[in-house]
């Protein structure tokens, strides 16, 4: 069976606007979503993975700003031409976030690299386990 390619992204954009976020910028080859809260990310990715077949995580970009990190999750599909960029913000004084490896298994290695470069901790990712222990020890928090 030949796959169906969606050249028009009108319905996709409309769907995202209705259900997820209104802050969307659409260009000729990508859709840019700014997530209002970082907790919404897994919901957005899960929605795009299951409903719109965005099954490939192309990369995770981390941009080092003065007080915070900007994380950009770039996902792509074999059926829709446009890539989607989802942006969240993580404060530098609390660089902890949830892993997305339950949706995209490849995220494990991307997160591991971000952890080594910037020290961002991804809860649920075993590769950052040691650093979580270090963080708990240094911050004085308890389980």
């Amino acid at each position: 069976m030949t796959p169906i390619f969606y050249t028009d992204s009108y319905f996709l954009v409309n769907d995202i606007k209705k259900l997820i976020a209104k802050d969307i910028v659409e260009t000729n080859d990508s859709i840019y979503i700014k997530s209002p809260q970082k907790e919404f990310l897994t919901y957005i990715l899960d929605f795009l993975y299951n409903k719109w077949s965005y099954k490939f995580l192309s990369m995770i970009v981390s941009i080092d700003e003065k007080d915070f990190y900007i994380l950009k999750y770039i996902i792509s599909s074999t059926l829709i031409f446009k890539s989607i960029i989802v942006e969240i913000v993580i404060p530098k004084d609390d660089p902890v976030f949830t892993t997305v490896s339950m949706i995209y298994p490849v995220a494990v290695i991307f997160e591991r690299e971000l952890n080594k470069k910037y020290g961002i901790i991804f809860e649920g990712n075993v590769e950052t386990k040691d650093l979580i222990t270090k963080y708990l020890n240094s911050s004085g928090e308890k389980f």
């Binding site: 910028v25 970009v61 941009i63 770039i74 490849v106 690299e113």
Partner: protein, 369 residues
């Protein structure tokens, strides 16, 4: 018991010259549990090198990132810049870019064939392939006016110089009088060789669903039967006007992955011939848009992806005040060396690991870029 085997041994201090790669295998009796490819000496924080630099400086550095596919990296960077500065590249430049990238794809495939034949012990074939790759690199040098093959040719706005008719004639002459016959020899001697099929058939099988889950792309994905090629699915340059069929197989084992190189090379020659035919119909002589970086830009970042020689190649470029703020590349070597290699079935013998590793087309210097 953890045992480390050197894969590429570097006799110099690893901090002076890159190239130290080793495989760490967790052994359990004669089988193994996990494989880790240690590429720590290949690590470089690329963003630190490029942040704050202007585009002209970055342009010179970009092709030096990979000796296997330097012009694919140039192409990616140029596409991202053209997206940010809203530039339409002349058709002639697009055709030149496509031709150069396909020549580079063939040269890279020959390099992969070299490493595979070295591992399997095809000593004569190994020398043939290396010799032919040198001829093809000469074609690339011919395109860039006899400069080093890591020099710039694809730049934002078009290509650096025009390609004359006699250079195109050299190219067509090479395919017609030499390389097409050579490919038939390859098939007789290597691809259809019963020793190759008996050594590699059924070895290093990757499950289709596992491959999709782990985001392997390129030849590995297509060899498992998934019809996905960025040149077809999300076309750039002139690939939408070119007719070619991606090479698909039923299962992704070492034999099919090696065989797909043969068909990929034939596809590339076909694409080059179609591009040359298209070039004859172009009337516009323009091949470069001037003053690319002095224009106003509407957006500050761009994400682009192309079909590299071994899979998807992505770039994320962000700019600020006409300088690079953030630059990140992701190559399929990153995924293959970290995830795909660990999906080998437990029944595989440890002596076959090197063959499987070479069939994944990993370029060590592209893993952490």
């Amino acid at each position: 018991m953890k045992k480390t085997f050197p894969l590429i041994k570097n006799h110099l201090d690893p901090f002076i010259a890159l190239g130290n790669v080793s495989i760490e295998i967790d052994l359990k009796n004669i089988s193994f549990e996990t494989i880790t490819i240690n590429l720590d000496f290949e690590k470089k924080n690329l963003n630190k090198i490029f942040a704050g630099k202007n585009f002209e400086t970055a342009m010179v550095l970009i092709p030096k990132l990979s000796f296997v596919q330097p012009h694919h990296f140039e192409e990616l960077f140029s596409l991202a810049c053209e997206d940010i500065f809203q530039i339409d590249v002349p058709l002639k430049a697009k055709i030149f870019r496509t031709i150069l990238m396909e020549i580079e794809r063939i040269s890279a495939h020959l390099l992969f064939l070299y490493s595979i034949s070295e591992t399997l012990g095809f000593q004569v074939f190994k020398n043939w392939v290396l010799n032919d790759r040198e001829e093809i690199l000469q074609l690339i040098r011919n395109f860039i006016h006899n400069a080093n093959e890591l020099s710039n040719f694809i730049i934002p706005g078009g290509v650096l110089n025009d390609v004359l008719q006699n250079q195109i004639d050299i190219l067509t002459n090479f395919w017609e009088n030499y390389f097409n016959k050579r490919i038939q020899d390859y098939e007789k001697f290597f691809f259809n060789n019963i020793i190759l099929s008996s050594k590699t058939s059924g070895l290093g099988i990757f499950d289709k669903e596992e491959i999709k889950k782990n985001k392997a792309t390129g030849i590995i994905l297509r060899s498992s039967g998934v019809n996905f090629d960025i040149r077809k699915n999300s076309p750039y340059e002139i690939y939408d006007k070119i007719d070619f069929q991606p090479v698909l197989f039923d299962r992704s084992d070492v034999y099919n992955r090696i065989k797909s190189l043969n068909f990929e090379i034939k596809n590339s020659i076909d694409i080059i011939n179609q591009s040359i035919d298209m070039l004859k119909k172009v009337n516009d002589e323009k091949f470069l848009v001037d003053n690319v970086f002095n224009r106003d830009y509407r957006k500050t970042f761009s994400f682009k992806r192309i079909e590299g020689v071994n899979g998807e190649l992505c770039i994320y470029l962000e700019i600020k005040d006409n300088l690079i703020k953030h630059l990140k590349f992701v190559s399929s070597s990153f995924v293959n060396s970290n995830l795909t290699i660990n999906n080998i079935k437990d029944s595989t013998s440890t002596s076959d690991i090197l063959t499987i590793y070479t069939s994944l087309f990993i370029v060590p210097m592209e893993v952490f870029i």
